[in-house]
């Protein structure tokens, strides 16, 4: 609480300083009227011209011209000074008004303007202090902050990158995840797992689309570790996205055939094959079990859709939803989502253009 007392003290002190910046000149007795003071200024100038001319700093002709001119002003000011002796009456009244303005209006304006946006109760949060204060709370953001601080000073610590990468992925910081995986791979060496993880992160970052780069990564992973399930799965997905579902089915079917019977990802492959309208070889495994597969993706996409139904202001989430429906093979829903987004952002041409280009790219045009 003492922090907030400090800020109030500071505010009070600053206000006083501002008020005094006005009051001090007002309180100074200025008996001479403005023009009388100007007379002083001009006399001073004349003296200066003479000094400069004597020192040879300005030419005689220039000095003479300056002298004539200043004298002319001097005479005019002196005349006005004589005439304005009567102006003194209004002075004390004006001074009172100015003083009131200083004491009342200046703080009032400051209070009003600050009141609109200010958050006096919210102290500053310097990073170093927060990192010192944080260690007992084990909240993820704090941990990440610490790892990041560590990595910032030791960017060559491959283990650190490897630890932080999946956390990024889980938090949805996808570009960071991609970078962390690639740093880990660069520093610790290429393995099938790392290569596949990196490519997976790239795929997720691209909204579920296996890019050419990611595809090459999966192929490398498969070359390093033949039969790598993650690589195989995503390469199948890539084939599907390239418009070759038969190839995808063939690849997945082959994988099921070669896999040990208790591999946890068999269920996922089966349901994927089923989604493409094929039949999975029944031979291998027992009943499909809870695998991180379409069901979970399904739930997540539904969650996203619900969230957007409640609050549709985040344009990028709409793009994601459209993509997700396409990945799930639900073209109608994708078109619906695109249409909703179009309605919501009709006024923003740049966003509509991005939406159009996505719709075009995904081949679900016609809305």
């Amino acid at each position: 609480m003492d922090g907030s007392i400090g800020i109030w003290l500071a505010i009070a002190a600053m206000t006083c300083a501002a008020v005094f910046a006005v009051l001090i000149p007002l309180s100074r007795r200025t008996d001479t009227a403005a023009d009388a003071r100007d007379v002083e200024v001009y006399k001073d100038q004349l003296a200066e011209v003479d000094r400069d001319a004597a020192a040879g700093l300005i030419g005689p002709a220039e000095a003479e011209a300056a002298r004539i001119e200043v004298s002319r002003r001097l005479i005019a000011a002196a005349e006005r000074a004589g005439a304005s002796g009567a102006a003194g009456e209004g002075m004390s009244r004006r001074r009172r008004i100015a003083a009131i303005a200083a004491i009342v209006v200046v703080p009032a304006i400051a209070a009003l303007a600050y009141g609109l946006r200010g958050q006096p109760g919210y102290p500053g949060q310097p990073l170093a202090e927060r990192q010192r204060a944080a260690p007992q709370q084990s909240d993820v953001a704090t941990l990440i902050g610490r790892i990041e601080a560590h990595l910032a000073t030791n960017p060559e610590d491959g283990r650190g990158w490897e630890v932080v990468a999946p956390v990024y992925l889980r938090m949805g910081r996808l570009p960071d995840a991609v970078r962390a995986y690639s740093n880990a791979m660069r520093l610790l060496g290429v393995t099938a797992d790392r290569q596949a993880d990196l490519a997976e992160a790239q795929t997720i970052a691209a909204g579920g689309v296996v890019s050419a780069e990611a595809k090459a990564g999966f192929e490398r992973a498969l070359a390093l570790g033949p039969g790598h399930p993650k690589a195989g799965y995503f390469l199948g997905l890539a084939s599907e996205q390239d418009g070759k579902p038969e190839e995808a089915k063939a690849r997945w079917t082959r994988m099921i055939g070669e896999a040990p019977a208790d591999a946890p990802w068999l269920g996922l492959l089966r349901s994927e094959i089923a989604r493409l309208g094929g039949t999975a070889p029944a031979a291998a495994a027992p009943a499909p079990q809870a695998t991180p597969g379409p069901a979970q993706i399904r739930a997540m996409v539904d969650g996203l859709a619900q969230r957007l139904a409640a609050d549709g202001s985040d344009f990028d989430s709409w793009l994601r939803l459209v993509r997700s429906y396409v990945v799930l093979g639900e073209g109608d829903k994708a078109r619906e989502a695109a249409a909703s987004a179009r309605r919501l952002f009709a006024a923003e041409a740049e966003k509509i253009a991005r939406l159009d280009s996505l719709v075009n790219e995904l081949g679900i045009g016609g809305s």
């Binding site: 993820v140 953001a141 992925l169 889980r170 938090m171 949805g172 910081r173 996808l174 570009p175 997720i204 970052a205 691209a206 909204g207 579920g208 890019s211 050419a212 991180p292 979970q296 993706i297 739930a299 997540m300 969650g303 996203l304 969230r307 985040d314 990028d316 989430s317 994601r320 997700s324 740049e350 509509i352 253009a353 991005r354 939406l355 159009d356 280009s357 996505l358 719709v359 075009n360 790219e361």
Partner: protein, 170 residues
């Protein structure tokens, strides 16, 4: 201050009126010259900015010099021999293939905004002689900035909004 020089109008030089006319004449002359140059150059060095849809709808003729702008279509960039690059510019409705030879700007990326300047070819393809990723005051194309700010904070399995993008306080 009055006029400069000797008051005798017959002296070497000009009368007050002549001087005034000379000055006004000079001023008008310079203004005229400037206006002429502006109009002449303006007619010759303006290039119109077109979107791919404009190219189709306005039925622009091959040989038209213009600026073509839009998004670089995802997956369309192909690099060839000798710094030849082919890509496609799209505005969501229409897509135009573009050919370019040279070094692409740093900020050139698939899915990002780009402006190219060049000549329309016979088959509605575009031969660019310069490619810019447009700048705002940060020397950064606005589209790039936007998408960098909000790029993909989503992945399967994470329905929660990104915790690292706190809400803006007003």
């Amino acid at each position: 201050m009055t006029t400069i020089g000797t008051p005798a109008p017959a002296s070497r030089g000009m009368t007050r009126k002549q001087r005034r006319l000379t000055l006004i004449g000079l001023a008008l002359g310079v203004l005229g010259l400037a206006a002429g140059l502006v109009l002449y150059s303006l007619s010759g060095s303006i290039t119109l900015f077109q979107s791919p849809t404009d190219v189709v709808e306005k039925n622009l003729q091959p040989g038209t010099r213009m600026r073509l702008g839009g998004l670089v279509e995802g997956g369309s960039v192909r690099r060839g021999e000798n710094m030849e690059v082919a890509f496609a510019i799209t505005d969501g409705r229409t897509t135009i293939p573009v050919a370019y030879r040279g070094i692409l700007p740093d900020l050139f990326r698939e899915g990002q905004g780009v402006v190219t300047e060049g000549v329309l070819g016979p088959d509605r393809s575009f031969r660019a002689d310069s490619v810019l990723a447009r700048h705002d005051e940060n020397y950064m194309p606005k589209e790039v900035a936007d998408s960098l700010k909000r790029q993909g904070h989503w992945k399967p399995g994470d329905p929660a909004p990104n915790p690292n993008a706190p809400a803006r306080q007003r």
